[in-house]
Symmetry: C3
Subunit: 235 residues, 3 copies
């Protein structure tokens, strides 16, 4: 359900949940190209950017570049989430043809909507989960996951919830940790975050275990049920 | 329309839109003076500080110090905007006489209200624009604009909107880029920001072009019209 | 009034105001232990974490470790406050027995509720104050206060309010400054913060003077009375 109304701009691709916008730039201005240190073979850009969420959009871009002739330029995680304690995202991809970039961003918008099912927000805090059966270049760049490996991710806020989730997940399954992030090593977010790889079953088991504990703990902080803009998809 | 009620403190100057407060300190405590590394010739301070906005307040201070016997001490940009994806500001000026500082902060409060007309906020994101026909010391310090040159600024959030604005602006006009900022080079804000200089017409053309594109794109993210606390003033 | 409902998890201790959760981890996973660089003698962890507030929770933990056989592992201050311009907190303590950690976190949750009486939030900004008659290891680690000394703390947002508070406090009393923090030296918060030590009366006088000025200034920014979730306790 990507919203396409309202824009006749050639740069516009679409919008979706979590205040996510997808855009393309056919041939970027030369001063900006220099500032962005773009390699010579990249002539068109695709942009994905949200106020809320990080891993879901990175996984969406990961699939998008697998399926198109495009590559990652940069992945940045601002301190955002619209007043909550986590990140937004700003992802730039590049390609030779703007049609490739546009197709990639279309795919990424569709998958961002699906992946948003694993963002859970309550009045007190938030949780985010992600899983991929096979990491490609975006997941590799963002989380140091070896290419082709199954990948899992979890973030919990307030941060202490994230550490208990991480501990339970690591104990539940044989997985290899690649990222352990706390407020001083993120963009000052109020989260503990882990990323890991392993067998597909091990990664999924760990994510589901973290989700179970995380939801239980986040529920103790208030009366409202943590929920997101889409349907949970990990089972 | 500066609100002066409620304070009989000698430090109080006034308040205005965007949760902006203006204050003076006649003779700062010696331990704080040392921490702030104030030069010996500065005996009084003027303070301007807002929850939302950056370039508009910097331009306001720029005019204020042009018109008074004061100078810039420091310009800091916290990650704020009251739950949105950008910055607030904390600006300190200094002078020999507290009356100079007070007058400068009065001017800055008046101009902050006017400049707030180029802050546009929707439920999804925000935009900020600024223009000055002749940069002085505040704009020079914050954005590396040569003294006396015409100056333009734009910020867009979510960040991808900012890059398309920047690209359109740079292509529309012959201007020279001095700052290109993304989440990792700001205070982790969810913005792309550019600052530039050139002929007055070129700078204004670029700002207006960025504003046109930015508003079109921000409108695609929701039903509410992006708007600010004052009337847009750039035409 | 710690909320204990809803969790049968062995890790759960309780929750309190300011979206604060208290947790324990009896024996942390070995990969996480390595990432956290835990010394060998620590076998159990206690966690305290809030969306809003910093000094109050640090003082709560300071008392908690005085009264239990536990020690500070880490104190991190994310950029949070649920859309306001300050910090949240993420504090990890360690001990040999999980029962010591649990007791320490119980004490910290109780004192967090009390200390929250010195957090003042309005629609425009916020203030936080803290005082301890005798600093222990948490206050020492966070604010460089010598062990056993009386300690005072104040933070004001928007930041300019914090500087006027700091100046008035420093002038009101004979105290020694140990921390002077502004947006670039915090987690990009919109605050000026000071921490100091001295005689008990001097520290309390300084905190009360800062609070008086801070409340007067914050009130000029709006019609609503700055208030927090608990009763002010400093007199």
């Amino acid at each position: 359900m990507i919203n396409n109304f309202g824009s006749a701009l050639p740069e516009f691709v679409g919008t979706t949940v979590l205040d996510t916008i997808g855009l393309v730039i056919p041939g970027i201005d030369s001063s900006l190209r220099e500032e962005m240190k773009l390699p010579a073979h990249i002539s068109a850009l695709g942009l994905l950017s949200s106020r809320t969420g990080a891993a879901g959009q990175i996984c969406a871009i990961d699939e998008a570049i697998k399926n198109t002739n495009t590559e990652i330029v940069s992945i940045e995680l601002p301190r955002d989430t619209k007043g909550w304690g986590g990140h937004g995202n700003y992802i730039v991809i590049g390609g030779h043809d703007v049609s490739d970039c546009r197709r990639a961003i279309e795919i990424a918008l569709e998958l961002t909507e699906r992946n948003a099912g694993e963002v859970y927000i309550s009045a007190a805090g938030h949780l985010e989960f992600a899983y991929s059966a096979s990491a490609s270049h975006a997941i590799n760049k963002a989380f140091d996951i070896p290419l082709g490996k199954a990948f899992g991710f979890m973030a919990g806020s307030p941060a202490a919830i994230g550490l208990v989730m991480a501990d339970s997940a690591m104990k539940s399954s044989s997985i290899k940790l690649t990222k352990y992030l706390t407020p001083t090593t993120t963009s000052h977010s109020n989260e503990v975050i882990i990323a890991f790889y392993g067998d597909t079953e091990a990664c999924k088991t760990a994510v589901l275990r973290g989700r179970e504990i995380g939801l239980t703990l986040l529920r103790t902080l208030g009366d409202d049920e943590p929920c997101g803009p889409s349907k949970p998809y990990l089972t």
